[in-house]
């Protein structure tokens, strides 16, 4: 019962979203599907980078590992999806450990750069190392899908996104969430509070990789294809980063808001501005928002809520 009380906004959100297919066209639904996947990617980034301050510029690396693992297993070996997807998640978590190793020694800009190098490494090697397996530059296509049609795909993507969102949100509200954000503020001070920061970081990396793995594998099977271009790319990284940051890093709800906001911004602009112009406007809006609201849209909602729903305690009372 307590849990239901905590989750009332989430449940309201789920209710609203589950009624959505009754009102909108399959075309618009596909936009929502993309927004759901973007939200998952952004949350994966958020639980690692938003919380602990270890900024990852290489999340596409993790997503790509998941996508390629399940793609290759289904394409070459015809394994069923209920085996390949979990395998992909596990592989991604192992890949996440690769990310974690440099984080034992370096942080800040240097850490971000290593992760960027991981992504670039993947971009190059997927094209040339064993192109028979990876499909080389063109990638693999004609992959099996989990469900077909806009409505089932919408429900699937929303359900998974929702489950991940609630799970992570509950997680960051525990004392573990506090410990992870303390690492962002002062890792040495966390250590001298008697906490094993290595273990805490490893946990954040594993959770992040797991979410990236689930989302990456499902996304690949939603698209039915995968290629190095489009995945291991700075532009993809940009979309994930901006969704998480504009929504509000470290909050889990923020990345969801950010993902929806950005996806819809792009769609809203479609009738008015053709082609690449949209991305220009979109980028400028992202830049301006990041510059003036660095804590993200979620912080604006919080501020409004504090002003109208929760009067500050009287400073006189003690």
């Amino acid at each position: 019962m307590w849990l239901l009380g905590q989750l009332r906004w989430w449940l309201l959100f789920a209710l609203g979203m589950s009624l959505l297919p009754l009102f909108i066209s399959p075309g618009t639904l596909r936009i929502f599907i993309f927004a759901n996947f973007l939200a998952m990617f952004a949350m994966s980034w958020d639980i690692l980078s938003g919380r602990t301050g270890y900024i990852s510029f290489g999340h596409p690396f993790l997503i790509g590992i998941a996508g390629y693992t399940t793609a290759m297993l289904t394409y070459h070996l015809n394994w069923p999806l209920y085996i390949t997807i979990p395998t992909a998640v596990v592989t991604t978590m192992i890949g996440g450990t690769l990310f974690f190793l440099p984080a034992l020694r370096i942080r800040g800009t240097y850490f971000a750069l290593v992760t960027l190098a991981f992504m670039e490494l993947m971009y190059h090697s997927m094209q040339v190392v064993q192109p028979k397996l990876t499909g080389g530059t063109r990638g693999l296509s004609g992959l099996p899908t989990l469900v077909s049609g806009a409505v089932p795909n919408y429900y699937l993507s929303f359900l998974v996104m929702f489950a991940i969102g609630v799970g992570l949100w509950l997680l960051i509200r525990t004392r573990l969430g506090i410990a992870l954000s303390a690492i962002r503020m002062d890792e040495d001070a966390v250590r001298s509070s008697g906490l094993n920061t290595t273990r805490l970081k490893l946990f954040a990396f594993m959770v992040s990789a797991m979410v990236a793995g689930i989302a990456g594998a499902l996304y690949t099977h939603y698209l039915g294809s995968i290629a190095p271009r489009g995945i291991f790319e700075i532009n993809f990284l940009f979309t994930i980063l901006v969704a998480a940051l504009l929504g509000g890093a470290g909050t889990i709800i923020g990345p969801i808001i950010g993902a929806y906001f950005l996806t819809f911004l792009l769609e809203l602009l479609r009738p008015y501005i053709p082609g690449a112009g949209r991305y220009l406007i979109y980028g400028v809006i992202a830049l301006v928002l990041y510059y003036y609201v660095p804590k993200g849209l979620y912080s604006l909602f919080e501020r409004l809520r504090e002003r109208f729903f929760r009067p500050r305690p009287d400073p006189q009372s003690d």
Binding site: L171, T174, R175, L176, I178, A179, S181, A182, M185, D186, D188, A189, V190, R191, S192, S193, G194, L195, N196, T197, R199, L200, F203, P313, P315, S317, D318
Partner: protein
């Protein structure tokens, strides 16, 4: 008196500079020790070495009879050593209460998730260093220097240490704030807390320590009661920089 902490032949160099040079001393259970010396004598380095925030070039550290030289920082804290920093380092985006909560966290992921925070105990620790309820809900940016030092102390006490390393706890404080913190330390000492204190404010330190160790260029010049040490000729010369 049994030794709580023993430091044996500790050495650490930075480039060509021997910041700590073959330093040996011990601290008994329930004892309070002052560590004094001119700027750059190596006092903070000693703390960093004891906490493993720096690695010594050579030497051994024993705590409760156990050789801890190979232990990482957090293991040393769990054994019962805690420190404050010369410049307070609160978690900037957390309230005072949440800062104390981090100090109280068990080093166990499962427990962190499943067990609730003990808010009553947090408040109690906060109040024990002199915060009121309003301040406990405030953020570090809203606090004065004296409050930040108290927060540092509260967070350190939250790990329930048996040995506390206090680095310049009086720096930048008003006389009133110094009195408050001194009272708190006297109170804690009565309850059996052991601490080593580094301070330039010798007058404030005097009533709080049983024994004083004076170091210069990483070596011990002399040790003894407060009066013995401050009246020692070598110590005075070291302070005058000769």
């Amino acid at each position: 008196m049994t030794d709580l902490l023993e430091v044996r032949d500790l050495t650490r160099t930075f480039g060509g500079l021997r910041a700590v040079n073959g330093l040996s001393f011990h601290v008994g259970e329930g004892e309070t020790v002052g560590l004094i010396g001119p700027n750059g004598a190596g006092k903070t380095t000693v703390f960093n070495l004891i906490m493993n925030e720096l690695r010594p070039d050579s030497g051994e550290i024993f705590f409760k009879g156990e050789a801890i030289s190979r232990y990482p920082t957090h293991e040393r804290v769990k054994l019962g050593i805690a420190r404050t920093y010369q410049v307070p380092r609160p978690f900037a985006e957390m309230t005072v209460g949440e800062n104390i909560r981090v100090g109280m966290l068990p080093d166990n992921l499962w427990k962190m998730v499943t067990e609730e925070a003990e808010e009553a105990l947090e408040t109690e620790i906060g109040r024990s260093v002199g915060f009121n309820n309003h301040q406990i809900a405030q953020r570090p940016s809203e606090l004065a220097m004296g409050d930040l030092r108290r927060l540092e102390l509260a967070r350190t006490l939250a790990v329930q240490p048996s040995l506390l390393l206090l680095d310049e706890v009086f720096a930048g404080l008003t006389l009133g704030e110094i009195d408050q913190i001194s009272e708190l330390l006297v109170e804690r000492k009565k309850h059996g807390l052991t601490y080593v204190m580094v301070s330039h404010d010798l007058r404030s330190m005097a009533p709080l320590v049983d024994r004083v160790i004076a170091i210069s260029f990483g070596e011990i010049i002399t040790e003894g009661t407060f009066n013995e040490v401050v009246n020692n000729k070598t110590v005075q010369e070291a302070y005058l920089g000769q």
